[in-house]
């Protein structure tokens, strides 16, 4: 798509029409219908503004708060709202409350996102603060109750909102995993995705011709502004993001919801809507993009790697995802969203209404957003311990038809606790522990195949010790066979090996 195009109308002209009450405003869904029936040229000519919307979990969100000074005053060095800690590396009574901060008493049940929702709904919030006391700020403790009306400022400033699109998630492992992409069932049991697709603001001005710094938007039910690119903005690959701000006092808790992801953490659902002025045909055509034209990858979250290294198992469109079923390999897998399409739609309708009623005017950006940005991973410069650095390579194994008593003797003689069981080709098929053997002898079982655990939790040589230690803790086990792609056992790693290696040091060498 070409960038510079003949201008059909300017933002100023559109605002004149809004003032006169004769602007033509369509939601993105209506724009798609019009473009399908009459073509882009006609749609571009007729439509002044297309409204968009999205409503999803946006973890990089938070609010700057100013509490005002008490008498005697305090220079708060630590501060909590409903037991959720604020960032206090700011002036005496300024603080930043992040959406993912966890309550120190309720853990995953309540956090920054919930406090923001409670503030917006006008609820009373417990404020607690501490300080070391200075000559000018002598007070050292505060415990009181506030509502949003008591604050001088409550300004939502979200460093990263409104992802243009987002890769979907599935899980190849044999256990349920709980992620920021929701509950993922074992063996590709489901697919979870996020994003409003054809309603999503950054999909509707794909080339950033109208959206930029200073763009006025719908934010959390109130009015906000784009203040720059969001963190991890990566527009060249279709993963643009926005940094936004708005007055929390004028927002509505319908469009700002605290949320908890089971066994993951807390966040905030944020509603964002952006008006797209149809200044040329190019913008009209991206504003008419449909779900079936926006593709994303489905990635395997069962692999504990960084997001862009998780294996891609399928490539689909938002239309596929929204149909409720997608295919991975030859398997049909149910899919569902984490973000609300219904709310996204509602937001595009509300914004349309505001504009039609002459309550909301469009802005021309003061500066465009970058259209290229490098997206770098964090390089770990110190060498980290991997499984291969710690595992023991001389592994004693057994065969499924070995006798229990024989094997028990072997374990005692060698002083080991874990015995991988392999088949004739050396592939791992089970594991027995000294505990299993003791039980087997007591119950008169004779051969290993009767007692071995067939669902073996394993490790790979190149995995970091950190990840493997967590896996052992999670399954409450003390040793893992290390296997390669072909399921051949190349070693064994135990909690003892790890702690011996780590006495007095961190996970780096």
């Amino acid at each position: 798509m070409k960038r510079s195009q003949r201008e059909i109308r300017s933002v100023e002209e559109i605002n004149e029409k809004i003032k006169r009450g004769d602007a033509v405003v369509l939601t993105a869904e209506e724009m798609i219908k019009l473009a399908d029936s009459s073509g882009i040229k006609v749609a571009a000519k007729e439509v002044d503004v297309v409204t968009t919307g999205t409503f999803g979990a946006m973890c990089s969100s938070g609010v700057f708060l100013n509490f005002g000074h008490s008498d005697p005053p305090i220079k708060m060095t630590k501060c909590w709202l409903n037991d959720v800690p604020l960032y206090k590396g700011l002036a005496a009574v300024d603080g930043y409350l992040g959406a993912t901060a966890l309550s120190e008493t309720q853990g995953f049940e309540y956090g920054g996102g919930h406090v923001i929702e409670d503030l917006v709904s006008g609820k009373e919030i417990e404020l607690r603060a501490e300080s070391y006391g200075t000559d000018c700020y002598p007070r050292r403790h505060i415990e009181t109750v506030i509502t949003i009306d008591d604050l001088n400022q409550a300004i939502l400033v979200n460093p990263r909102n409104c992802y243009q699109k987002y890769d979907a998630a599935t899980n190849s492992t044999d256990r349920v995993i709980y992620t920021y992409m929701g509950t993922l069932l074992p063996n590709y049991g489901n697919v979870s995705f996020s994003g409003a697709g054809q309603l999503n603001p950054l999909c509707k001005d794909w080339n950033y011709e109208t959206i930029g710094i200073g763009t006025r938007i719908f934010l959390g039910g109130g009015v906000g502004y784009i203040i720059g690119e969001g963190t991890q903005h990566s527009p060249q690959s279709g993963f643009g993001t926005l940094m936004v701000r708005g007055d929390l006092k004028k927002m509505n808790s319908r469009y700002l919801r605290g949320a908890s992801f089971y066994r993951y953490g807390v966040t905030l659902y944020v509603g964002v809507g952006i008006p797209i002025p149809i200044i040329n045909e190019n913008v009209a055509s991206t504003a008419a993009l449909r779900d079936d034209q926006i593709t994303v990858n489905i990635r395997d979250y069962g692999v504990p790697s960084r997001p862009d290294l998780r294996p891609i198992v399928s490539r689909v469109t938002y239309a596929d995802l929204r149909s409720g079923k997608v295919t991975i390999g030859d398997k049909e897998v149910p899919s569902s969203s984490l973000s609300s399409y219904k709310m996204a739609r509602e937001i595009s309708e509300v914004l349309k209404k505001w504009i039609l009623e002459g309550r909301f005017f469009l802005t021309k950006p003061v500066e465009p957003l970058p259209r290229r940005r490098e997206f770098k991973p964090l390089r770990i410069r110190r060498k980290e311990l991997r499984v291969r650095d710690v595992m023991r390579r001389e592994v004693i194994t057994a065969k499924p038809d070995d006798e229990v008593k024989e094997v028990a003797r072997k374990l005692v003689a060698k002083g080991i606790d874990h015995l991988p069981v392999i088949d004739r080709d050396g592939r791992l098929i089970g594991i027995v522990t000294s505990w299993d053997l003791a039980k087997a002898i007591a119950n008169d079982r004779n051969v290993l195949s009767e007692i071995m655990t067939r669902k073996v939790i394993t490790a790979r040589e190149d995995e970091s010790i950190d990840v493997v230690a967590r896996r052992m803790a999670q399954h409450n086990i003390s040793g893992l066979p290390v296997i390669d792609e072909a399921k051949q056992v190349s070693g064994i790693i135990t909690t003892d090996d790890i702690s011996r290696r780590l006495v007095g040091r961190r996970l780096t060498i």
Binding site: F55, A57, G182, L185, V191, A259, Y262, S336
Partner: protein, 129 residues
Amino acid sequence: MRVRLIYSPEVVEKPVLAEIIAKTGLLINILEAKVNAQKGELVVSIPSTGKRLEEILAMFREAGVRVQKVTKVLQIDYDRCTSCGACISPCPTRALRFGPDWTLEFDEEKCVACRTCVNACPVKAITLL
């Protein structure tokens, strides 16, 4: 009628369900199963009501299986629910889905009260009664 059958270690290896199906000729459908060497739990749907249903439940009890009627239900608080969909694909029985206007819909008949959706909902809109 949905019923949860709880097998103790003593009966877990006996083919209780198969025998009752054979004896009654009823199409008892297994909706959910968790079985291991120590115990077993099945949620089944028994296509029967009233006195006949009670007779069948009695047969299970006689065979040493504990019986709980799954009257559930699940309650969705539509003031909190955003119709995000996070509960839909994790549901093992497809009891949750979107309606035509993308509002969450719940099919009570299919639900086996497994709680998966309760945990999957980010805004705690679902409670199991």
